[in-house]
């Protein structure tokens, strides 16, 4: 016997799956607009820290990411992060950023963390505006690894086409200090 509650929640779960499918396409298309030539820091891995334990509040990833290290200057990384779930969010948010690490993340394990962009954004700074690129205050616990970072945020559902990534990245690059490999 179907229940109204079950049907409602099932429609929601399916909508979340469709959101994941769209976010996956965005991550793949990101390579086309990011710094070139580049190498994916985490290869095909897009999330982590999700529990597989039976005892859990939920199993859904809180976000997904992709980091591309510039071949001409491997310390320069362009990254995309989609934030699905956080107490501070009103809706899913897309983050695009450029980070300059102190070491080459492809050579030294642990230099780049998939959540770096996430922790540049959260906790959301007072007065932060979507659509405007700004330099980040690197949290103390990441400052040994990250020299500087710039990011831009937009509501995920405001992205209409993959080319929007290019527009947003241009704003980010324009805000980043002149570093070798920065294409702007």
């Amino acid at each position: 016997m179907p229940t109204e509650a079950g049907k409602k929640i099932y429609e929601c779960i399916k909508a979340v799956c469709r959101m994941h499918a769209s976010a996956s396409k965005l991550l793949k298309d990101f390579d086309k607009y990011a710094t070139y030539p580049s190498i994916s820091v985490f290869q095909n891995t897009a999330t982590k820290d999700r529990t597989n334990a039976a005892s859990a509040s939920y199993w859904m990833p809180e976000g997904v990411f992709r980091y591309l290290s510039c071949k001409d200057n491997p310390r320069l990384v362009e990254a995309i992060t989609v934030c699905f779930l956080d107490n501070e969010l009103e809706e899913p948010v897309l983050l695009l950023g450029q980070l300059e690490y102190t070491k080459d993340p492809l050579q030294t394990r642990g230099v780049c963390d998939g959540w770096d962009l996430w922790y540049m954004y959260f906790p959301v700074r007072t007065g932060w505006i979507h659509g405007a690129a700004d330099k980040c205050v690197v949290p103390e616990d990441r400052a040994l690894r990250i020299q500087s970072a710039t990011l831009i945020s937009v509501p995920l559902y405001s992205i209409e086409r993959a080319e929007d990534i290019s527009t947003l990245l241009k704003k980010v690059r324009a805000n980043m200090p002149a570093v070798p490999g920065n294409v702007e």
């Binding site: 429609e11 909508a15 959101m19 499918a21 769209s22 996956s24 396409k25 793949k28 290869q43």
Partner: protein, 264 residues
Amino acid sequence: MLVAEIHGKYVLEARTFEDYLTSAVFGHLRYIKPGSFWDALFDIAVSQPIELTVITANERIRKETGCSLGSFGALNALFWPEHKEGIPDLILHFYGNQPRSVVILIEAKLYAAKSSTGEHDQLAKYLRILNSLQDLRPPLPSDALALAVYLTATDSRSEIIESLNQYGDCDQARQRLFHLQWQDVIRAIDMTMPASELDAQILGDVRRFLHKRNLEYFSGMESASAIPFVLEIDGEFLKDELLFDVDSIPTDLDIIDERWMHAN
């Protein structure tokens, strides 16, 4: 395999296996005769910049043979043909109706990078296969126009540049090596007017399969009208079913201050 997956029946491990993907997609596409689909697909395959401009595989074919892929009489697909330089995933041989045939070598990847780099660079080796088609098993005409396509799920320009450098970067090499994404197969299908009902069925199946695999380009988020509208009050359903019989709960309990939850 392809039809099973369209209907949601698949082996999870096989979904990341690129040979399975190549076989499922091109095992069906090989029955599409030379025509608008192949023209559309290789109109999307682009080279690395040659004097600041890129060319498509089809432009190169038209320039060298004076005709498009659609004008050839037949297509033969050779899966995993052997050569002393290695075993590429697929070779498409377009022949008939024209004096010179066209050979398109395809190396397909899903999420992995090239299997070898440096002096043994996989794509550089496959570029060398193009120079000795007669050494393939089965052999192909040595006078055919031979091109290579690197088919991937994400942008592969960096890998291609690396391979060109290993091969000896020159305009001639850049005019032979093209990149294409799995997502472009759906684009080509969408641009194609099928020549027959059978073609329509094959292309439709391949399209559905790639859609199931999410091998499509991003085309916007879902519109608000397609997302179920759930109000916060809808969460009340969680309270619909009483876990306890209210009458059985004692009424003489003290009200406890909930601040204990936040105490250190």
